[in-house]
Assembly symmetry: C2
Homo-oligomer: 235 residues x 2
């Protein structure tokens, strides 16, 4: 990412790692010759959320923290990468931008390669040909939910869950958009990590405000815009 390969990277860097251990010396050589090594200090950022995902990384030493920052500035740590693992493999998921920020939790040493070399890597693990735009998208959505659970209050989580269902399965009906399948308070609570009681109270309040209208097992959103606002605002 910063400078060209050092004099020459030592093959012993990769030899002990699982994916590479079975390879011929010459193959390892070829891979290393394409790699760029980089050392970063504790706290330094390796790549930023939203930046073009032009490289993927292999962590040789140290620990990487993968974080996301919410609209209100809170940090949520999505996962930690221990030495020996790949990270920043957004290219593999059909994404052209990194979905999160990676920073060094300790001083770290890593190799990286341009995204276009990914397919060559993929074969190493002995896996099959697969399509993963779907998977990448789903992974992103799940990640969003972690952030949501970590930073939002119950009311906002329920509002967002409802908004998501409207987008996925909503049908236009008179007076709003109806969720396209039977949905109980209990169901909504299981989607948002709360209780059916709380969901019931929320829906009642929203109904009073003209945002939703519901009958047994059915929810219609009458004011989608205000629902979305509920999901984002603080307070």
């Amino acid at each position: 990412m910063t400078r060209p390969p050092l004099n020459r990277l030592d093959e012993s860097l990769l030899t002990p790692l699982p994916p590479f251990s079975r390879l011929e010396r010459s193959e390892i050589r070829a891979i290393l010759d394409q790699a760029v090594s980089r050392r970063v200090e504790e706290g330094a950022t390796v790549f930023h959320e939203g930046a073009p995902a032009d490289r993927f990384f292999l962590l040789l030493d140290g620990t990487i923290r993968v974080i996301r920052v919410t609209a209100t500035g809170e940090h949520v740590t999505a996962l930690h990468i221990p030495a020996g693992q790949l990270f920043g493999i957004a290219p593999a998921l059909g994404k052209d931008h990194y979905p999160a920020t990676a920073q060094a939790a300790s001083e770290a040493l890593m190799l990286s390669w341009p995204a276009r070399l990914w397919p060559r890597f993929a074969a190493l693990d002995g896996f099959t040909t697969e399509t993963y735009a779907t998977v990448g998208k789903r992974l992103g959505e799940i990640n969003d939910r972690i952030v949501e659970m970590a930073t939002l209050a119950v009311e906002q989580r329920v509002a967002n869950a409802l908004a998501r269902l409207v987008n996925q399965t909503g049908r236009k009906v008179e007076g709003g958009i109806e969720i396209g399948f039977p949905l109980t308070r209990q169901d909504l609570s299981e989607m948002t990590g709360t209780t059916l009681h709380t969901v019931s109270r929320l829906l009642s309040a929203w109904e009073k405000d003209g945002i939703v209208s519901s009958r047994r097992k059915h929810v219609t959103v009458t004011d989608p815009h205000r629902l979305v606002v509920l999901g984002q605002r603080r307070g």
Copy 2:
């Protein structure tokens, strides 16, 4: 899954769907001839968490709810699948068992194919050859965290986060296992969706109980077993 292909599945089932719309009629025919169709009623289970993942599915109509059940019997809805989407694609992730349970949120109609046909599907989306054991594993871990955030109290989440870090980066030191990188209370709070104050109080209490010992930016787990117990128990 239940019965052999009907008389003959109609090509118009697939024609309107994005991945298939570009295919020749003969190709669609070939795909359909391998498919099994199935109709399930509201509330019925399509496959159970932990069952051998021998098939993958395409939802033609209705909505599927993907849920996980915790050790204490609570249900957490991981995601909803709208009509037109694939689901149960565990085979694609290198998994041989379904990681969650799929049940019909409404009466649903679906097609399914044996797992071994997955590669043929994969090519449709126009994606590249990729390896995804890594991705599949990571997706599973993230999913676990959603369940955790939804069902566990703060103390349990922090205990689990610590246990995870010990497994990933722990080094044996005298008197226990030390997390292998600098870790502040703030860091732990960002991993678990709580505040540094609460984390501090928890660590103090645990230190008093001889479960952990910590100095500035470093945490050593002195009694891993009890830590794990803390992460699972209720109360």
